[in-house]
Amino acid sequence: MEIDLSQFHQVFFEESFEGLDVMEQELLNLEEDSDLENVNTIFRAAHSIKGGSATFNFKDVADFTHVMETLLDEMREGSRPVTREIIDLLLKSVDCLRGMLNKIQDDEPVGEAHCELINSFNLLLSGEAIVETEVNTAAEQAVETQPIAADTTEDLHHYWNIQFIPQSHILETGNEPVRMFRELKGMGVLESTVDVSKVPDFDELVPESCFLSWRLRLDADTEYDTIKEVFEWVEDECELTIDNAEEPEVKKQDVKKQEVEKQGPITESEISVDTVISDKEVTAVETDDIEVSGAEKTTGDSSSDKMESTNAIVSISGAVSNKTSDVAKEKSQKLATETQNSSQAKVKSTAVNEEKKNQKKATSTASIRVGIDKVDTLIDLVGELVITQSMLSELGDNFTMAKLNQLVSGLSELEQNTRELQESVMRIRMLPIGFVFNRLPRMVRDLSSQLGKKVHLAIKGESTELDKTVMEQIGDPLTHLVRNALDHGLESTEQRIAAGKSEEGTVTLNAFHQGGNIVIEVSDNGGGIDPDVIYDKAVEKGMIQQGEELVKEQILGLIMEPGFSTAAVVSDVSGRGVGMDVVKRNINNLGGSVEIESNLGKGTTFTIRLPLTLAILDGQLIRVANEVYVLPLVSIIESIPLSMVEISKIAGDMKVYKLHNEYVPIIDLREEFVIQRGGGANSEGLLAIVEGENRKIALKIDDLMGQQQVVIKSLDSHYKSIQGVSGATILGDGRVSLILDIVGLAKRAAIRANHRREKVA
């Protein structure tokens, strides 16, 4: 049967990455508390990856995980102590495997990075010598066995005498002589003679035990190993002799050959790949001689012959490896020409490669693992929905006004069903934030030793769920915040001791739900941020004017503005990659916000607030002329009738509204979106005070309408991105309504104000 194994690759990659995450986590746990169950879990993960990679023909991964597994097995059995060096090596291996699997997934060569690690394992395992290990992959097995089968004419005999005396319990495990003998019969003519002398008296007979034994004569062109294989599962539970019935000379040869095989079974079988082709026309007897001497030669001088035969295998093993080597060839040719070309061309081609890679990633379907309970809830809800629907359609078939009450209650039931269904469907996309938190302990471990600080990472609320998409995008900002907490937040050990604090600093991650949001806190018990230092720095950088009055919250917020870095020297740790401004931008892009709270000498807390999902929004519908827009409900502070509002003008003709002690810029949405007059001419209008990222604006609108949950449709994918509009949705009556983005609107207003100011000046 032809089964395309590549259809299982994606699942294999997914579970392997998961397995690697588990290994990493357990390795870190192992450091604190070496528990046998931890080692078992790590072993199992490595074992699974090994089994899968061997089955799906990822030989490098299989070889690598094989040595890992061997070491883990020793740890599991207690014959190898758990040391920091071993944990380090295993952690490095986890990283390396991740890289290898990523490359395989992208159809790239895995490189040589793992070889060094394999050597380290072998050194550990053997104590000295480096042993070459091989795990045969399924394809290779197939390649290897075929030539052997085709090339064993000299090994085939016609008559075999087999003596089979099973132990009495053999039948109890489903090992059935009838089945085994039938298999033998399939090879030729079988004659069986049974010995019934050991069968006890009927009264004494335990019917499940076997007291029979057999002498079989098999008349078949087959070889010793094939016969032996039939009894493979029971060979330790029986007396078995397999003899060649006639032609004793051939038998001698057979013994000789077996000896050769014992010396070097792998090389021997590989050699036959070579000889099969070249010796085809030689007569059978001659072939036999050549074969044996060839094999002997191999045992004497294995290295060069082995090289050859490996080549032979590569060429046979077909499409997959051929393709890879072609690609490699092409790549190296490309590289050669590129070196002659300008560096610009080089950059271009990498860009193209990068693009291809991305395309590939995009097309590979992402999957999600869902707890069965969630699916069951969905099925229940759909069931209820069906009942409500049939009740309503029955009602509609012969409706009279007398049934109005029934209709109303039916519709409200439908509404309830729909809402619950929607919530449950959303919950399918929800995953525990532990998936993101779990990658942090490893980083903290590596970073703390790099920084020479003692750090304890406390994790709370890891089962708090959030949308998969949000989670995928919060990983990097979160990592950066933790990195920052270790690097800048926590003091050095000496400083901590001098300040009378515990030697070990603590970074705490916490997650919980609050309203429609998930809140993630990253806090440290370090030195805290000094607002005065930040203020001076901001002045120095020209971000604010000396003497400008800012509250503490605003000053701290400056560290997340573009172009701000407090560290005197950009350190190796936090200095690379993204800055705090990027962290903030990423979080804002997810519809979330960051707040900083800090107490000098006590520590700093970053609080991230994110919507639970990006797909649904609690919206407030507003009307401007004949248009309906949606405002995120969370952004609305208050709304005031225009008649009760005192509007001032500052800086040119910018209209502002004085709310408490603050001047809030007013944006007239009719002007902003250039809407023709119409609709609510009779209404006096409202000011809706809204807030985003600590910035308030007042929107001049005509009316507040209902509140409802809206499903967000991206404008980017259907049209293009527009500042001030975060997306669109379809209303109950089928109209498309734009969802307003407060931060974007505020920016638009600011830009326009600047233009005006410039004009005035």
Binding site: E176, V178, S192, V196, P207
Partner: protein
């Protein structure tokens, strides 16, 4: 026609049913008369099943009672041949003579 008792072997003459079959065979033995083994429906046959029948036939014959096959199925005959038990079970004879 002389008196005899009949034991039906059902569809499965195998290890899973060996114990229950044995107790039915014990009952047949206590009657101390010739036994007919009805085996036309036997589909699954294994070593344990045939071994049990062998011990039964031997026992019945020492008691002086004969055991006859009634329509042994192909599956039964095949398995007994493969195990080399056909003459011990008197099945080669049964086959030659057809219905006994």
């Amino acid at each position: 026609m002389s008196k005899k008792t009949t034991v039906s072997l059902g569809t499965a003459l195998d290890i899973a049913h060996a114990s229950s079959l044995k107790s039915r065979l014990v009952t047949a033995l206590t009657k101390n008369i010739p036994v007919q083994l009805t085996s036309d429906k036997v589909e699954r046959v294994d070593t344990a099943g045939l071994q049990l029948i062998f011990a039964f036939i031997k026992k019945a014959e020492t008691q002086g009672n004969s055991v006859h096959w009634y329509k042994p199925s192909d599956a039964l005959i095949n398995a007994s041949e493969i195990l080399g038990l056909q003459s011990e079970l008197k099945l080669n004879q049964a086959r030659r003579e057809g219905v006994v």
